[in-house]
Symmetry: C2
DNA sequence: TCCCTTGGACTTACACCGTAAGTATCCCGG
DNA sequence: CCGGGATACTTACGGTGTAAGTCCAAGGGA
């Protein structure tokens, strides 16, 4: 079976998901595709290119939603798709979020988001600013989600309780008051909250009037 | 002169800023403090701890602003301080933004932000959500800022022009329309835009009525 | 005063890493 | 049928993180 760049990258992705990014080495990758280390260099210039390729592969596997014509719903679904694509490969997600995406791979998503914003009445420049604001929030949120250990997502009640106790004992009054909410982090809720905030602000900016109190 | 953990971390930070994170090795770090590699292990358990320590050091050097009583101004100044601290060490910034901060180092900043939000009328839980939304945006923005090469910040006009041409030639109409604005990225403006958006949304959520059109 | 504990620095060693350079093998177009 | 290009393998080098053991100087108790 002939080796291809695509197969190398696919194997690298599963290897990263199994062992973490640190656990990826050219020798292990070669073994995973049934080859000696140096043979990989026929398909890939060096290890950095492999890592770039993994990030590219992850976003290439992102499923773009169909536009509905409702710009807020469309933007939200695009954000959902991005988040789903990244969290699907928790170990590789950091790579996607960290390096700015090699143009071509993410242009389709960029285009979809800009279309929705243009349809909402933003001009070509404002649409870019709005997109970048939402994307920055998205990157920060997803990064927190994939990097935070299990002590944060509520799946480890003892860790959460211990953390809450530490925060309560801290010399910072506002931290102590909010300790129960700081000690854990429901990623879904934080994501929805922030996205609602941004979409509401964009709608306000667009129409000059706010929506009803957000649900 | 006796070696201490603190001196090791300080040396590691300057070394990272000189050579990038990849360029940091225990041997080089040891040489920088005038010692053999293995001696470092008397002060630091392993390399990961060094890297964690660098991130901690960077945020420990963040200068917290004085509270003014105006919650939006206070939040903005805190965000400015965070951004300034991170961009001061571009190579180390990725470390700070990537790993969730070891509790104690960032608690003072967390407390200041929560205080401002509590003062604005948010309850202990909403304040945490608001803080996390702003922080996520901040992380995403600063990450983009420190990772994007010089082809993006406008300092490399030929790179920007080339990039704009590529975008114009892409098969995505909304991308082509916004090409001049996608081709470069003024980090200050994007930061202000997104932060304004979030603060406006928070104010709206707090009072039930929007501010006048922003700036 | 002497000794002995202790802690920090040094030395050696190992397994592994990315990859430059050279060599063998296979397949396919002429 | 054969020659050349692509692909895979082998060897080798300098670098990495760190486990294990050695050595020495400073400080406290007898």
């Amino acid at each position: 079976m002939k080796l291809t760049r695509e197969k190398v990258l696919a194997a690298a992705l599963v290897l990263v998901e199994e062992n973490g990014v640190q656990g990826l080495s050219m020798r292990k990758l070669a073994a995973a595709v049934g080859v000696e280390a140096m043979s990989l260099y026929n398909h890939v210039p060096n290890k950095d290119a492999v890592i770039d390729g993994i990030a590219e592969l992850v976003i290439r596997r992102m499923a773009l939603p169909e536009p509905t014509g409702d710009w807020k719903a469309d933007l939200r679904q695009l954000a959902n798709a991005f988040r789903a694509a990244a969290t699907r490969y928790p170990h590789a997600a950091g790579l996607v979020l960290t390096r700015q995406l090699g143009s071509n791979a993410s242009l389709a998503g960029t285009n979809a988001a800009l279309s929705a914003l243009r349809g909402a009445g933003f001009d070509a420049e404002e649409a870019v600013h709005a997109l970048r604001a939402v994307l920055a929030f998205l990157v920060g949120t997803v990064l927190r989600e994939v990097e935070s250990g299990p002590a944060f997502d509520g799946a480890d009640p003892v860790g959460v309780a211990q953390r809450e106790a530490e925060l309560l004992a801290s010399p910072f009054p506002a931290v102590a008051e909010s300790a129960p909410f700081l000690a854990s982090c429901e990623h879904d809720r934080e994501y929805e909250f922030g996205l609602d905030l941004l979409l509401a602000a964009l709608e306000f900016r667009r129409t000059g009037s706010g929506p009803g109190r957000s649900s």
